[in-house]
């Protein structure tokens, strides 16, 4: 076997060293495109999926507890929070109050959801404190201050497709009319920009403000949002929360995401899988054609090699090595193209649905899987035609009879 490997290696090395360099460059270029296609689209899809999942974090954290169907509020939110925080896997938790309101600035009025938050707790819960594009986030002592979503403020990403409050900046004043007709005036403390409607069409104020407006006691909340140490373990932690006696409905981020995005994600996944298999089939066909033409052109040489005593195994091994070489160069070329595109799209995100910026996600696992798949495919596609010709009789291979 070692002799066959040595001969196969010598034969492949000679082909590479003295073969047509232009043909090699073309083959490598096409294989690079195939590899790039294999990893690029899933990266874009991954970016989109990851982005949607991140958006879910704003509203639902990793696990969210909501009021029973018949209730508007969770009545004993502080007790529940205590139980939640006592669970070992929980990293942090907070309560929120969501209410519907209209916001007026000068002559412009828009409807929005206003969320009452406990500002210092949000640092460990959501990304709200980190997406303030202008001004500052709320503080624990904030009073009569509001954070406005970017799509409600003219000039920000996505604001042109929705009703907005016009030129609004930190320091501007807005009038809020709550669903119970109570009116309040707030000073805009900051603009938050998450480039996603669920965030950017809303506003934030201090939890206590909503408590006051609605006359709610301290234990009321519309949701308890929880972050856990290992987000992949949310299903188990959910069971633990139920186990410690929480009677209100408990949802994982995935359950909430699925309800909203399941169909879209399934469609994207399907497109992704189809695209992946088409790329693989095209790649395999290309290698097969390249090696097959190569083998046919050398059919006589293969016959001669056999006639002189070279074994079919070493011939097949030589073509497998050649295919691996082509594909390895293709993978390297594809990786270069891929990272160039990744850098470009990270700097210039694709705008989706006019208001969502998609930044592709580089997934090492996906890249490694694609490299492995391409290499396996190249070995198979390289071996098949060589094996077929090497099994022909010597007379057939050399003299065609």
């Amino acid at each position: 076997m070692l002799n066959e490997i040595k001969v196969g290696f010598l034969s492949a090395k000679s082909s590479i060293k003295r073969g047509n360099k232009k043909t090699l460059a073309f083959i490598v270029f096409v294989l690079a495109l195939i590899f790039m296609n294999l990893v690029f689209l899933p990266s874009m899809m991954g970016g989109m999926t990851g982005m949607f999942n991140n958006f879910m974090i704003y509203s639902y954290g990793d696990i969210v507890i909501e009021p029973n169907e018949d209730n508007t509020y969770i009545d004993n939110a502080d007790n529940i929070l205590q139980k939640v925080r006592a669970v070992q896997e929980v990293k942090s938790a907070t309560k929120r109050l969501d209410v519907a309101a209209s916001i007026k600035h000068k002559q412009k009025v828009v409807g929005a959801t206003i969320t009452g938050v406990l500002p210092s707790e949000e640092y460990d819960i959501s990304n709200y404190p980190y997406i303030i594009s202008e001004g500052e986030f709320l503080g624990d002592l904030s009073q009569d201050e509001i954070i406005i979503g970017a799509m409600l403020a003219e000039g920000y990403f996505g604001s042109e497709i929705y009703d907005n409050l016009g030129q609004i900046k930190p320091g501007s004043f807005v009038n809020v009319t709550y669903s119970n007709n109570v009116q309040r005036t707030y000073k805009v403390k900051g603009i938050m920009e998450g480039t996603f409607e669920l965030v950017d069409l809303n506003a934030l104020i201090h939890y206590k403000e909503i408590q006051e407006v609605y006359g709610l006691d301290k234990g009321k909340a519309t949701s308890i949002v929880t972050r856990i140490k290992n987000p992949d373990d949310s299903a188990n932690v959910k069971e633990k929360l139920i186990g410690v006696g929480i009677k209100e409905p408990v949802f994982t981020n995935n359950e909430k995401s699925e309800a909203i995005l399941k169909q879209a994600m399934e469609t994207l996944d399907l497109v992704n899988v189809i695209s992946k298999y088409v790329s693989l089939i095209v790649g395999a066909a290309l290698i097969l054609i390249i090696v097959y033409i190569n083998v046919l052109n050398r059919k006589k040489e293969i016959g001669i090699l056999k006639a002189t005593g070279i074994t079919p195994k070493s011939i097949v091994f030589s073509y497998a090595l050649l295919s691996i070489f082509y594909v390895s160069l293709g993978i390297i070329g594809g990786l270069i193209l891929y990272f160039l595109l990744m850098f470009y799209f990270t700097a210039n995100p694709v705008v989706f649905y006019e208001s969502i910026e998609i930044i592709p996600e580089i997934r090492v696992g996906l890249i490694l899987q694609s490299i492995f798949t391409m290499l396996i495919m190249s070995v198979i596609a390289g071996i098949l035609p060589a094996w077929r010709v090497s099994k022909e009789s010597i007379l057939e291979a050399i003299w065609g009879r």
Partner: protein
């Protein structure tokens, strides 16, 4: 003492299907080859000489008949063993050089030694020596495209003799060469035969080639019609 026969052939027959009919390429041929003979197999087109050489070189199988090399019946050897026999015992020089275009002259020669299990260093040394024997010691690094027709054929000869085969088969080795280059190649054969006692079986249809050989077998319609040994 009577010299022992190296190759024995008895009633060798080879039929081919051709369209509706059958071509009787060899029709019950029998002869023996002794070690150190340089034989020319001659005959007109279609006489069966190339078929004969292919069977002798284990590239083809007879329809019936017996073929032994050193008393080993090689007709029914499994393909793997025939392959090994070709690699280690037989050398073959083809009409059209049959070199690997992308391998240098040296690589074309030493690839077979590698296959036999010799180290690269040893294989290269053997190949260099074979190339020197055919007068191409300084052209080992050239690829076939950089060699003349005669040089290519001499590389093919070097490849065949590098492994020191028991028998060297040559199928019209000068068919694509001019007279001068043909002479060079035939001189190489003659030297190998005289100097090293190399057994050679060569198919040719050029009468003037016979002055280099020690025995001439004439074929016609798949039968031996003449078998003449020259006096030493």
């Amino acid at each position: 003492m009577k010299e022992k026969s190296m190759i024995k052939i008895k009633d060798l027959t080879r039929y081919y299907k051709s369209g509706e009919g059958i071509v009787r390429a060899l029709n019950g041929v029998s002869f023996e080859i002794k070690k150190g003979e340089f034989i020319a197999i001659m005959g007109p087109s279609g006489s069966g000489k190339t078929t004969m050489l292919r069977i002798l070189g284990l590239l083809d199988k007879p329809t019936k008949g017996k073929y032994t090399i050193n008393n080993l019946n090689v007709v029914h050897l499994p393909e793997e063993e025939r392959n090994y026999y070709r690699l280690t015992q037989l050398g073959y020089v083809f009409q059209d050089y049959a070199l690997m275009d992308e391998m240098s002259a040296l690589e074309n020669v030493y690839v077979l030694s590698l296959m036999e299990g010799k180290s690269k260093k040893e294989s290269i040394a053997i190949a260099n020596s074979a190339l020197i024997n055919v007068g191409l010691g300084d052209k080992g690094n050239r690829v076939p495209d950089q060699l003349s027709g005669g040089e290519k054929q001499r590389v093919a000869v070097a490849r065949a003799i590098a492994k020191k085969p028991r028998i060297l088969f040559a199928d019209e080795p000068c068919a694509n060469l001019d007279t001068q280059t043909s002479k060079q190649v035939l001189e190489v054969f003659k030297t190998l035969n005289k100097k090293f006692g190399q057994t050679i079986v060569m198919v040719t249809h050029e009468d003037w080639h016979t002055k280099y050989v020690s025995r001439i077998i004439n074929l016609k319609d798949g039968l031996i019609v003449g078998d003449k040994r020259k006096r030493k």
